[in-house]
Amino acid sequence: MRERILAAYDPFVLPFVFGMTFVLAYCLIALVKVLLQLNAADRRKFALSLITPTTIVKNIRDIFCDCLLHVKLWKRNPVLGYMHSSIAFGWFMIIVIGHIETILYIPERLHRLYYPIFYRYFMEEQNTTLQGSFFFFLMDFFLLIILSGITIAIIKRFRSRIVGMRRTTKLTLTDRIGLYSLWAIFPLRWIAEGFTAGVAGGSFMTVPINWILHNFMSKPENITVAWWLYSIALGTFMTVLPFTRYMHIPSEILLVPMRNAGLPVRHTRKGFALTMLYSCPSCGVCIDACPMGVQKKNVKDATVYMVRNLKRRNQKRSLEIAEKCLMCGKCAALCQVQMDACGLRLAYRTAQEKKTNQIPADFSYLAAVEPIAPAVEPVALDDEKVLYYAGCMSSLTPVISRSVQKVLQSAGVRYELMDKDGSICCGRPLMLAGRQEEAQQLIAQNRKLIEASGARILLVSCAICYRIFKEHYALSGVQVWHYTEYFSRLIREGKLQLRNSHQTLVYHDPCDLGRGCGIYDAPRAALRTVGQLVPALKERKESICCGGSVGSLTLRYEDREPITRNAIDNLTANNPEAIVTACPLCLKTFGRFAPVPVFDFAQVLADNLE
């Protein structure tokens, strides 16, 4: 290899150098800003995680798999997975190979930012030598991969259904500039390298293009034009990058370690949240995921638009979206960058509620609620005694509590009711409304009651309550069980004698139980012993919210109905004889519109006791 341009410089590199310097400076300033916005505890936690060996390994693996190979996307949609990983990984490899070549053959030029990028222009080598043909082949191979990805991207933009997306995001003007310059970069690179293939050798992509466009490419005056255009495309892309969705490329590299450090979302657009906002690639997976999307007017309430409005500081729209969301978490479960969509909304609601609520809560009356066992003498902890908390909603669906008790009696479990005479709410509805401190008061009160009872097992039949008991109660010495888990344990231990009715059942995953707490298998295992389980179209992680969620603050009754009907259509696709759910709210909501009977999980078990 030898240098073809001895000056190692040509003015065409300037657009690229400008763009690259700009984007690097921008990212550096943003990084400092984000780190300064973290509170001291979070910053220490983050710093510690960066030197913990296991987290380091996880960080590297996640950055490689998520940012370059897009493994998650491959699993969900192989075409989109290929499209993203071909562009990301292919581009990464081209940059890496350019650097390797520079390091190997002309290390003294490495300090020039542009040299590895425009290596072909400055260096001369024939493809007849081994090293030449090897690197030429590699470069052309990755160029081919990128170009195939770009082709899919162009098809997707005009016919998204071909690649399996119903709706894609509406792009902003800067997004469009970024998009078109990104599309242009690689075809231009192909042409530019086609020229040099005539003088300095090429491989299976660049040599043929040189032959095909021979008349054009044999004119030396066209060479710099092609390289200028390539550099301008690169420069444009880099310059607009911070103002487009492509900012997710650098942001994700920071997001992955921050997420792995376990930082919480404390603010809607500061610190970790800011990194998260800029990591949104606006891919639009959340648009199709959102259960509110059944009505066209709600399409713009998807997480991607929430992120866009938060970035632009559009308070009014951000608030509207934050308050409307059902908090079912489906968009977050499917999100490629694991956006904490509910956390962001909750942070917004909390800030808003703190600012605007003028009626301070007063829960002093709760102190008078009678504990279950006399609190005067300390109660000995009882390993087998179960304390059953039915929750507020269950008092509107008494069949649940009746069935749970029937099953417990049949299994010979000693139990006590925690909220026979009216329950103290678990606190999650308050929390979802943004009243965190008030919720803590209820939690403290309930915790007192639970710990005074002496029971070791707290049985919960409401998915909403279960989630907050798990996440925020920190009960010492008391295990929290959801009844689906507890009953399938009783079945496994042979304490419950059930008969199989051979009724076809479909199971609905309640949001807070499935996506919220990861319980998918226990209820299914138990239901298989009493009936025949048929699948829903979308289930488990992708289950559709029933529409009754207390997560939404502003969604009106009329607008919940289409969501419920859509969820029912999804469940009844395989003509089950009944729908089974494990949440009183879903039971009540589905019960209004379902064409088949809707049962609670405990009810099905109780009806099939031997």
Partner: protein, 112 residues
């Protein structure tokens, strides 16, 4: 017409809608559902806080309509926002948002 010295007088019924009540009007703008209430009392009957306190959403709505917020707002302090009223309301009123909206329109007086 012959003047007999007496005649029909206009109705002396007080129409509550005609009394200026700007706070309630603002509440109605924030949550139009408030106008749908038929005061059936389902919310009160099912209320979790109502088991322990005098909280009654039905009374809250009626009293606010009559401009008697002073006796109403303390009731709302007890609300746990559990959402049972939302499920039982025959008119489909978004009760939780209504309660949250009241907190934004009306202000508790400090000495209470």
């Amino acid at each position: 017409m012959i003047d007999f010295g007496y005649g029909l007088t206009p109705s002396s019924t007080l129409k509550i809608e005609n009394v200026a009540n700007p706070a309630f009007e603002e509440l109605r703008q924030r949550e139009p559902d408030v106008a749908k209430c038929i005061a059936c009392g389902s919310c009160t009957a099912s209320c979790s806080a109502g088991v322990f306190t005098e909280m009654s959403l039905r009374r809250v709505i009626l009293s606010l309509q009559r401009g008697r917020e002073k006796e109403t707002l303390p009731m709302l302090q007890h609300c746990m926002l559990c959402g049972k009223c939302l499920l039982v309301c025959p008119r489909g009123i978004n009760t939780r948002h209504l309660i949250l909206s009241i907190g934004k329109v009306y202000k508790m007086e400090e000495d209470r």
